[in-house]
Amino acid sequence: MIVAVAKPLEDIVAMTDRYDKIILAGCKACVAVCAAGGEKEVQLLASALRMARKTAGRELEIREVTLERQCDPEYVEQIRGFAGDYQAVLSIACGVGVQYMAEHYKTIPALPGLNTSFMGGSLEQGVWSERCQGCGTCILHLTGGICPVTRCSKSLFNGPCGGSSKGKCEVSTEMECGWQLIIDRLKALGEFEARFVELFPLKDWSTSRDGGQRKIVREDLKQ
């Protein structure tokens, strides 16, 4: 899922300071799963923002809504009926959702309530970890199913650097060395000789963000 984390409350309070009527839009997809922007988080944030306003002797009207997703036009359109009554949309979907709000509702500002961080999964309840950088050319079959782009801090392709120590990355002892993981896995799969000895060719980064904003078109699915 896309993993995001709530912006500090002070920042959101400051961001919404000039508005008295806002929509607070949550999302039931990724951000709900990582407990950052789902229905519950909408309720909590709305309550907190109203409390902040009351403490300052003012009022803040919040229309709370949680959409199925904010990355499909049909769902984002669901607030069309009342969007015009409000001064801003505070979206606690991921960065995609905030931008969809901005694109669909051109006359009111779309504000981000989250810091969208990475593509990852849960390790245990309450803990999420990055796994994919969206490089556009997946090579997981060559590295035992562990991504060197994401899990090696330097995105190396030919094995660990000299800073790998006891299975940990030089950047932090809490970070695993991606290449240690890859080597262990390749050995467990009996693929070590086949995969590790060969020189890995240079990565084509043009399919990644580096090549510019990406778009995927399925002609067979278009109307």
Binding site: S153, K154, N158, S164, G167, C177, V197, L199, L202
Partner: protein, 307 residues
């Protein structure tokens, strides 16, 4: 085809090579390099200039190498892949060769989290092994990475780093093999304090026949004090400083510790010369460059041979 590198010639003659390094200044003063260079005159076959080591901004290796070259040194350009993409890398390779820099050390580079600009974007377009491949392709095939011909091939003696003390230990010789396969001709290792572990690594390296395909220069660093020893032991990743070394330093009074550190360094060099496959030494006396001559002298490495 051989390059104009003095280091390559010394090794080619079967001599035990000596290299050292200079850390450039955190400012635009070229005299800092000149003064460090003076301390190394007649002591080394080639001198490295580090490339924003530990991700701390310093005068560029490229510029500093030129200053050393003017003084008559054979400089070794250190290039990390952390800060530049393949376009800039190929460009700098051409530039270095054009200005008569004969040696290049290919590194990935310390992660910027260590340095003074941790907010920087890191590049790592290619890794150190791919950098070696790049230099080799440009030099031996006369081609850019996209297979287009370049007009005049850069002549550079290709080096790489090796750390026998990083984990996982059992693949370190294999990783060296990859660097050799990519085109590395000389290696400078991380500084050695644990001779047993280094000897074990060399045994694996020799068993794979790598010592005949690449010249291994063993890294040494003199310890100034117990504090420095402890810092390197505990705070620097991939460094192995045995307790025995720290204890030996502790055993002498504080004002004598730096002299003892020099002694240990000289003894280490003499022991390293005995190990099969070690073809030189790389003396890293960071911010203590004035001691390199003393160490080289004490280890019987002077005068340097004529080429």
């Amino acid at each position: 085809m051989k390059t104009a590198s003095r280091l390559e010639k010394v090794l080619g003659q079967g001599e035990f090579a000596v290299t050292s390094e200079c850390g450039p200044p955190r400012g635009a003063d070229p005299d800092v390099i000149r003064e460090k260079g003076k301390l190394l005159e007649g002591v080394v076959d080639a001198a490295n200039i580090t490339d924003c080591q530990t991700s701390v901004v310093r005068m560029s290796s490229f510029a500093s190498c030129l200053i050393l070259k003017e003084m008559g040194f054979d400089p070794i350009l250190q290039m990390v892949t952390r800060d530049r993409n393949r376009i800039a890398i190929q460009s700098d390779i051409l530039g270095a060769a054009a200005l008569g820099i004969n040696n290049i050390l290919c590194l990935s580079g310390d992660h910027q989290r260590f340095g003074d600009h941790p907010q920087a974007k890191n590049v790592y377009d290619i890794d150190s092994i791919q950098l070696i491949m790049t230099v080799k392709k440009m030099r031996d095939e006369g081609k850019f990475l996209n297979d287009q011909e370049l007009t005049k091939a850069p002549q550079l003696f290709i080096g790489a780093a090796a750390n026998p003390f990083a984990d996982p230990f059992e693949i370190r010789a294999l990783r060296l093999a990859k660097k050799v396969a990519a085109g590395a001709q000389f290696i400078q290792t991380q500084c050695i304090f644990n001779l047993e572990r280094f000897a074990e690594w060399m045994r694996q390296v020799v068993a794979m026949g790598l010592h005949e395909r690449v010249a291994i220069l063993a890294g040494v660093t003199p310890l100034k004090s117990v504090g420095m020893g402890k810092y390197m032991k505990n705070q620097v990743p991939g460094m192995d400083v045995p307790d025995a070394v720290i204890e030996r330093l502790k055993g002498v009074p504080k004002e004598k510790q730096s002299a003892e550190g020099i002694k240990i360094c000289i003894e280490t060099i003499l022991r390293l010369r005995e190990i099969q496959g070690v073809r030189g030494v790389h003396i890293m006396a960071i911010e203590w460059e004035e001691k390199v001559r003393e160490i080289a002298e004490g280890a019987g490495l002077l005068p340097r041979p004529k080429v």
